[in-house]
Symmetry: C2
Subunit: 461 residues, 2 copies
Amino acid sequence: MTHWVSDLEKLLPAGTRRDLSDAYITEPRGQWSGSAGAVLAPRSVDEVSQILRFANARGIPVVPFGGGTGLVGGQTLPGGTPIVLSLERMRAIRAVYPAENVLVAEAGAVLADVQKAAVEADRLFPLSLASEGSARIGGLLSTNAGGVNVLRYGNARDLTLGIEAVLPDGQVIHGLKRLRKDNTGYDLRQLLIGSEGTLGVITAASLKLFPQPAASGAALLAVPDPAAALDLLALALARGGVSAFELISGQGLRFLVEASLPIRIPLDPVPDWSVLIDIGLGPGGDPADWFNALFAEAMEAGLSKDGVVALSEAQRTELWAVRESIPLANRAIGAVVSNDISLPLSEIPVFLEDCKARLRAMSDVRINAFGHLGDGNLHYNLFPAPGRSKSDYAHLSEALREIVTDEVVRRDGSFSAEHGIGRLKVGELERYGDSGKLSAMRAIKTSIDPMGIMNPGAVLR
Amino acid sequence: MTHWVSDLEKLLPAGTRRDLSDAYITEPRGQWSGSAGAVLAPRSVDEVSQILRFANARGIPVVPFGGGTGLVGGQTLPGGTPIVLSLERMRAIRAVYPAENVLVAEAGAVLADVQKAAVEADRLFPLSLASEGSARIGGLLSTNAGGVNVLRYGNARDLTLGIEAVLPDGQVIHGLKRLRKDNTGYDLRQLLIGSEGTLGVITAASLKLFPQPAASGAALLAVPDPAAALDLLALALARGGVSAFELISGQGLRFLVEASLPIRIPLDPVPDWSVLIDIGLGPGGDPADWFNALFAEAMEAGLSKDGVVALSEAQRTELWAVRESIPLANRAIGAVVSNDISLPLSEIPVFLEDCKARLRAMSDVRINAFGHLGDGNLHYNLFPAPGRSKSDYAHLSEALREIVTDEVVRRDGSFSAEHGIGRLKVGELERYGDSGKLSAMRAIKTSIDPMGIMNPGAVLR
């Protein structure tokens, strides 16, 4: 192996090869770890092209590496990665076009930096998620990242106007268009987005910006049940301006206390179900009026009797802290099984009922269901009963996961709403995926990457 | 040929074969015509699958046929189409889910019928274009249709949650998901959308619905020039609620008179440039207030001094009639060259200047530039000078078209913004398309359709 590494190094500028560190070969939850032949951090699309051409000619596997924050093991090849291709040195914001609502960023740009560049141009880049301080644009696109603002602005796929990318044989796709409409051939942009580094390497993207809302606000409203939350969602959407609509379970709020997080729960008693609604309005819009009108409608329809509205930015941040602390509490308590699922909206209430009944028939796990209700996307996680530990459930965890996936799939839901397939869910994709789709995916993979060098074992075996 | 037709006919229910009529083998502008071995109109995805499996085994070309309204010849195989596969009998609205804002329609459903089904559920399906009375969902998706509401709601690609489709070998992709988030493998939906029937046949789609705006309005505002129109666009977008933002040239308005169309032009004098702004607001929104505030800002910034606001539906329809009559006037006068282009927004003013100067240096053509400014998408059409006729320019038309395409491409624009490639623009795609993209497209085409039966000659030669 050493031989080709030094050959490849000679082709590239000094400094391209990086020291190997754990960050490149482990993943955040410690479920995968590996080793690496060489970590290479090219500085340009041409250098990426050179590396891939070299690897393709010799059949050397390449794993593209962004911020390393993925949760399904797409960034780590167990057993060792010959080439870790890190985009960390391609982090330029190449250009901002405020009048066009477009920003062009390289794949290594950190999401928080892209958000900041947008704000400096008095614009909004709405992609927002927990790992935004370290996740990079290339990884976010290759996994079609979601987050809290998908309801209004869409996921990474929807926010991308064009990409620059390198195919496995080193050919470059120059597709950094700043166009809203372009019907000139197959949409390779959307094929590469979400392909998790198995078809090529995205090196830059032109991204959509939006006007910043003139006024924002948030509210936490208690609702009697998930069906009421959905009715409330419809009322809120009809008013316009909804950026996020998050479901919070009483279990999630009680976990904040159990995990001793310094978070004040603003509703008393703690409701079994509540929703966090975030809005951004145009000039002249008044968040207080907006929430008052919604709450009046909700009261009238029996959808909510209690709530708290945040009108200052400080209050809004405080409400969001409740929502954002739930994953922290989850981690502190330790999930037996975590799921990132989506369902047709109207199936959610019955799913929650049926799935809980089946799980409870098998086990005393506690269920924390929460997340992006507006998108039909829930994080549906199972935890040990009080006084018991995760290891007590080791023998059950597969069976419990299967119940959840089964209840999701039979309702035409998704067993991976925003995290992707990576290496974690390859088996589930084989088992639950549509055979026509899988067969077309395999044909495409073989045609674009005949040597099979790109992120082998991710998405497809 | 007759032999396989009768073999195939025997496999299918009686009535599947339709009488051949001109509609199946000509296109709206009469630029292509052909013949057909058999017109088949299956009633189910299984029948579509049977037809493709049969054709694939024998290498018989198939041209999928929707409403036949495409403008680039994608629906007609010159020299004769062995199988015209018409979706006309698969026109069911399979289901409407108002609470989910989802509608599932078969490929043969006419757009106007889908819009109507949405309205009956108190929802909006926002795809809207001139041919909506005959264009069918399958064709609209396979060409990624645009239209007037793309600015707010996106094009066909953005409005599609999932598809059911048949691959050339007869395999069915069951992808009618009603999910907003689903990261389980390559996005075949987006690959098939916009592939113009060259990779398979879309048989049904789950489509996004939206709340109907509580209040709507429109205004026609005179602007000094296209740069001012773009500044006005930014002000309008910051207010939220903009559904359409259309540029109208003085030439276009004068054509309405020249073509003797019964349309009153509501601004006097006729402005060299004007914009039609259409808005839809949520509950409590007041279109009069909205336009007053925008017009005050526009006056202050020197962006507009004259305009007319339509607040009743009758007035709004009247304003839209001005915009929608421009293509009719164009047809009456007869274009020398028509272009469907898009540009990065900020390039539009200088494009309009430069392109006009180059065209005028060669010819006395009149230019009518109009269309979806909010999307950077203009219909940029050239017409004979007064007193001259189209045939006077026959020797120049290719050179004139080349100037326009050249000015578009060097500014990173698109030579086919919403109409697609079809057969008309295959040469332009080869000449101006990115070589990496073309090479990947060819690899994908070969992998999915190795026998080359699907719409041969469209998009790729």
